[in-house]
C-alpha cells in the first residue's frame, strides 16, 4: 500500500490534454478568436457585396473630390470648391475650437459652483445646488435645442436686439461683441504680457529662495499679478491708448462690424458649458469633501490662515481626488460636442454626415470620425496622466 502511494507521488503525472488547464485555456482562446474572426469576416464580406451592389467605390479617394457644399462658419479659409478633405479639416477645427473654449469655461463655472455648494452662505449654497440638480438631470440634446430656440426664435430681430452690456448685442442672428481696431499696440501688449509672465516667474523663484533663507515672505502672487496687468497697460499708454473699438452697428437689416457668434455656436457652447459644469461642480465638491475636516482643524490649530490652509493643506490633497474624474469630464465634453449636428453647427460629425449623405462613403466617414475621437481621447488622457503623475510625485 505504502509503495503504491509513493509511486503515485513520484510519477510525473501528465494529465490528459482535455484536463490540462493550460491546454484548455489555449484551446478556448483559439475557438474564441476564430468565432470573432468569423463574425468580422461575415460582416466584411456582406459589406463588400453590398457596396459593390450599390456601386460605391471603397477607399479614401473621395477626399480629393470637390465638396460642393457650403459651411456656415469656419476658422480656416473654405469655399464649396474645396475638397472633402478640407471640409473635414474645417469640421475638426470647429470641434477642437468649441471643445477647448468649452473645457476652460466649464472648469471655471464648475469650480465656482462646486465651491459655492460648500459655502456656509445658505442662499449661495442653495442656488448652486439648484443649478446642479436642474441642469444635470435634463438631456444635453434638449438643452442645446432650448438655447438654440432661445437665441434664434425668442431673441428679437437685429433691430430690437437685446443689449445686456453696452456694445454687446443678442439677436436672432447671433451674439455680437465689439472688438478693438487693428493696431500694432496690441501686438506689443501681448509681448509685454509674455515678458511680465517671465519676470513674475523669476520673482516667484526668488521669493521662494529668500523665504527659505531668511523666512521673510514676499507677496509674489500679487506682484506677479501687478506685473501681468501693469506692463501691458504701460505699453498701452505709451502707444497713445488706441481705444478705438469696432462696435457692432445696425446696417439695414443686420449688423456690421464687431465679431459675431452664430446662434448655433452660442447655443452649443452655452449648452456644453452649463451641462458639463454641473458634473465638474460635483467633482470639485466631492474632492474637497474627501479631505477630512480634521486636516483643516489641524491646520487651524497650527495657526495657518484660511488662504494658507486651502493652498498648503486642503487643495494638494483634494486635487489628487479631483483630477482623474475631471479628465473623463473633459473627454465627454469633447465627445458631446458632436451633438452640434442637432442644431447644425458644422463640427466634425456634422460635416462627415453631410459628406456621407453626398458620397455614400459611410464606412470611411465613420472610420474617420472614430479615428479622430480616439486620437483626441488618447491625447487628453495622456496629458492628464502626465499631470496626475506630477501631482502624485509631490506627494510621495
Amino acid at each position: 500500500m505504502a509503495s503504491e502511494t509513493a509511486a503515485i507521488v513520484v510519477r510525473p503525472s501528465r494529465p490528459a490534454p482535455w484536463r490540462d488547464p493550460r491546454l484548455r485555456g489555449i484551446a478556448l482562446q483559439v475557438v474564441f478568436v476564430a468565432v470573432i474572426a468569423a463574425i468580422i469576416g461575415f460582416l466584411a464580406y456582406n459589406t463588400t457585396v453590398n457596396l459593390r451592389r450599390q456601386n460605391i467605390a471603397t477607399g479614401f479617394g473621395f477626399l480629393d473630390r470637390e465638396a460642393a457644399f457650403g459651411i456656415g462658419e469656419s476658422l480656416i479659409a473654405y469655399s464649396p470648391a474645396d475638397t472633402y478633405a478640407r471640409a473635414f479639416l474645417v469640421g475638426l477645427a470647429n470641434t477642437l475650437y468649441v471643445s477647448a473654449i468649452g473645457i476652460v469655461l466649464a472648469t471655471i463655472l464648475g469650480t465656482v459652483m462646486g465651491l459655492a455648494r460648500l459655502s456656509r452662505n445658505w442662499l449661495v449654497a442653495k442656488l448652486a445646488a439648484i443649478y446642479v440638480e436642474t441642469f444635470r438631470n435634463i438631456p444635453l440634446a434638449l438643452q442645446l435645442l432650448f438655447w438654440w430656440a432661445l437665441l434664434r426664435e425668442v431673441a428679437p430681430g437685429p433691430r430690437q436686439a437685446w443689449q445686456p452690456l453696452p456694445g454687446v448685442f443678442v439677436s436672432n442672428r447671433g451674439i455680437l461683441l465689439p472688438v478693438p481696431h487693428q493696431d500694432p499696440a496690441y501686438l506689443w501688449m501681448a509681448v509685454a504680457f509674455a515678458i511680465a509672465f517671465g519676470i513674475a516667474y523669476a520673482v516667484f523663484r526668488w521669493a521662494r529662495r529668500r523665504q527659505a533663507e531668511t523666512g521673510r515672505q514676499f507677496p509674489a502672487g500679487w506682484v506677479g499679478l501687478a506685473l501681468a496687468l501693469g506692463l501691458p497697460l504701460i505699453v498701452f499708454v505709451a502707444h497713445g491708448m488706441p481705444l478705438e473699438m469696432e462696435w457692432p452697428v445696425l446696417r439695414g437689416f443686420n449688423f456690421a462690424g464687431g465679431t459675431a457668434f452664430s446662434p448655433e455656436f452660442g447655443a452649443l457652447l452655452i449648452g456644453l458649458v452649463v451641462y458639463t459644469g454641473t458634473f465638474i461642480a460635483e467633482i470639485v465638491r466631492a474632492g474637497i469633501l474627501a479631505v477630512s475636516w480634521g486636516q483643516s482643524e489641524a491646520a487651524m490649530a497650527l495657526g495657518l490662515r484660511p488662504g494658507q490652509r486651502m493652498r498648503l493643506v486642503v487643495l494638494p490633497q483634494a486635487l489628487r481626488v479631483i483630477i482623474p474624474p475631471m479628465t473623463s469630464e473633459y473627454l465627454s465634453l469633447t465627445k458631446n460636442s458632436s451633438l452640434a449636428v442637432i442644431i447644425g453647427y458644422p463640427d466634425l460629425v456634422s460635416i462627415a454626415n453631410t459628406t456621407m449623405n453626398q458620397t455614400g462613403q459611410a464606412v470611411e466617414g465613420i472610420a474617420m470620425i472614430m479615428a479622430v475621437y480616439l486620437v483626441i481621447s488618447l491625447l487628453i488622457s495622456l496629458f492628464m496622466n502626465l499631470y496626475n503623475r506630477s501631482v502624485a510625485l509631490v506627494e510621495r
Partner: protein
Amino acid sequence: MSNAAEAMPGKAPVQSGARAMIEMQAVHKWYGEFHVLKDINLIVGRGEKVVVCGPSGSGKSTMIRCINRLEEHQQGRIIVSGIELTSDLKHIEAIRREVGMVFQQFNLFPHLTVLENLTLAPIWVRKLPKKEAEETARYYLERVRIPEQADKYPGQLSGGQQQRVAIARSLCMKPEIMLFDEPTSALDPEMIKEVLDVMIELAQEGMTMVCVTHEMGFARTVGDMMVFMDRGEIVERAPPAEFFANPKSERTRLFLSQILAH
C-alpha cells in the same frame, strides 16, 4: 484672576494675573438648541497640568476645543495667555500661535513628509528660514525619539509614531500651552506608553498642559488638578490624590468605579 474679570468686557488683549495662562469665565455653548457647555469656569496657571475626564458626550473635548477657537462659545469669556478670544481674527491667530494641539486622530498631513509636516507652520506662520525650521524640527524629532523617520510619509508610520510626530509638530511652534484631546484613544495598547512617556517628559519640563484623557496613571503621575465633567458642566475639581482617594460627588464616584473597575 480678579483683574481680568473686572476689565472692560470686549476690550482685549486683557492682561490677567501673571500666573493664569487660561481663564474661562461662565462659558456657555449651544449646538443649535442643545446646551453642550454649561457655565464653565476654569483657571489654568503657568506650568500647571490639568487633566479633564468624564463620560463620553460630557463636553470635555468641546471645552478644550473652545480654548483655541476650533469651537466658538456663545456666552462668557475665554482669556488665553492674556489675550481674550473674540471673533477678531487677529486675536484668534495670536492665540493659535501660542497654543499647540494634539488630536485623537493625529491629523498629520498625508501629502507632506514628516519633516515638512513639522516645518510647515514655522515657515508660514512664524516666518522662520527653512533651514532654521528644519533644525528645530530635527531637534523635536529627536526629543520624541524618531529622528530617523524625518523623510517618511505619515502613512508609513505606526499609530504611536504618528502621534509622536503630531506632538513634535505642535512643539515646533514653541507654544506656551499644549492641549491634548484624547491623544491615546486611537492607539493600540502597546503604543500608548511611548506616547505617554513623551507627554510625561514634556510635563516635567514645565509646559502648561490641558489634557483630555482616561489614562488615570498618567493623571496621577503628572496632574496638578483633575477636572471631572458630566453633561456639559464641571462637576468636581481636585488634586489627583484627593480626587481618586476621596471623590466628593456621587457622579464622580460612579464614573471612577466604572473606569477603574477593570
